[in-house]
Amino acid sequence: MKSLVGLWEKNKMDDKEKKQDSLYVKLIPYFEKYGILLLLVIMILVMHILQPDVFLSWRNVTNVFKQISWQSMLALGVFMVIVTAGIDLSVGSIMMLSLMILAIVAKAGAPWFVVVLVPLFAGFLCGLINGLGITLLRMPHPFIMTLGTLYIFRGTGNLISGGTPISGFTDEVRYLGHGRIDLTWLGLEKSQYLPVSLVLIAVVYFVFWVFLNHSRTGKWIYAIGGNPSAARASGINVNKILIIVYSLCGFLSGIGALILAGRTDSGYPNAGLQSELDAIAACIIGGASFFGGRGTVLGVFAGVMIMGILRNGLNLMDVSSFWQQVLIGSIIVLAVYVDVLRRDFGTRK
């Protein structure tokens, strides 16, 4: 009897080994890494075929980047949080509150470098409040803490501004969101400029890519998402890392506020309304797993781009924004289904 069980176990193992070595399974890691980029390229090609004159024009491409500039900051922050198997619902409200503080400080006549630094600091503090609440108050899930601060921060933003828009900033303050880098020295036309916000996206994403993949703290963020008790048993101060992650997420929302201030030249009560959902959607489409520990900075960027291109392309084709909602929702479900399949095939059970 015992030997029979042994034999059965052995057969089961062999079957697993075979499955492990099949070509299909071997392809999964590559698909996981670059599949989302493939989807992005396909989308660009389809849009180009549908709108050959407009879509890939200089004007439209820079437009897409300007439109996604502040969302890309929120998405990057939320991504780090999702890697720890958490969630931050308050990024839209953090951005709005930081924007309102920026507007008030600017109207009070503070010098431009103060106005520029204030939203970053405010965003960082808001994120710190989230992080401290989740760890010190021992909230059962970050969802609850950040749902609370979603209301608290937006309410505070409305209280300090009286709920009315505050407009008119100096060029220095607007530089990151509205600035243009002239490329006429390359022999290009005056209209073919590089938006400063595009350069900012590239720099911020690169810095955070290095942080997440090449620093110990970054590695620990992934470890916490993979197995928090393993991280704790390894002597990692999990609470400290979580506080850092939520603070950085708030800081990035603060950068988002600065970009938005530049783009709109105004602090307004509805800024970033529901943008936390867009940010989460971009992460999920980009391959970040809600179970934590999985996803790449490049993937998030692709997720933000896919949403941006979808909106832009459908606008160009005069498709109703209602259809945009249906399509983005469908892509989210599809992306997560791919994640489910990957978990089925990719890991041993």
Partner: protein, 249 residues
Amino acid sequence: MTSTNKLLLEAKGITKYFGTITALENVNLKVHEGECLGVVGDNGAGKSTLMKVLSGLYKPSAGALFFEGKEHVLDSPKDSQNLGLEMVYQDLALAGNLPIGENIFLGREPTKNIGFLKFLDFKKIQEMTSAHLEKLKINVKSADQKVEELSGGQRQAVAIARSTAFNAKVVIMDEPTAALAIKEVGKVLDLINKLKSTGVGVIVISHRMDDIFTVCDRVMALFQGTNFAESQLDKTSRDEVIGWIMGKK
């Protein structure tokens, strides 16, 4: 082989309360160099609590820990690690999304400086991992393989490798062969014997008499949070040890 070797770890009078519940009461334990101590007991006998006290995860309500003759107060697992005391947890305490090497060095990654910034030294992690796995004769395809792609036995081997990567003197293993396929149990037990031969003191908590009688030199039984019985392995039998677990002498 036991009493002549150097005493590594000694726990004296360990007591631990959780509110009104007494998990451990006046428990003593000793491990020597190159010795394997088996700890047995029924569910709730206090085995896991005792191990968590030894690793610094729980603070004892009373009692003292001596490491190489000196008393130490452990505030966190980091403290026990610094002393050379490592724990291999039942749930393996590995992050499945990270590669083998990064798991082995998790929390203690080697870094290199570029300017004033510290970056992970992936090359060093890979080299040290390969050398360490080689030393313990653990076979995996590569140090870059993610842990979630490994079998249960390979994961257990990685967890043990992780515990010994930093010159551990005492390794505590909580149910090292639970949840393993039959053909993998032997490999893990071989690994434990290999550790003993390098002078490491090993504490194995296990329900399986086969494990205890394959690798241990001495066995002690906990019953309802107290020391119940203890013996050199060659002076006892499976039936007697099973009796201890059920509270019969």
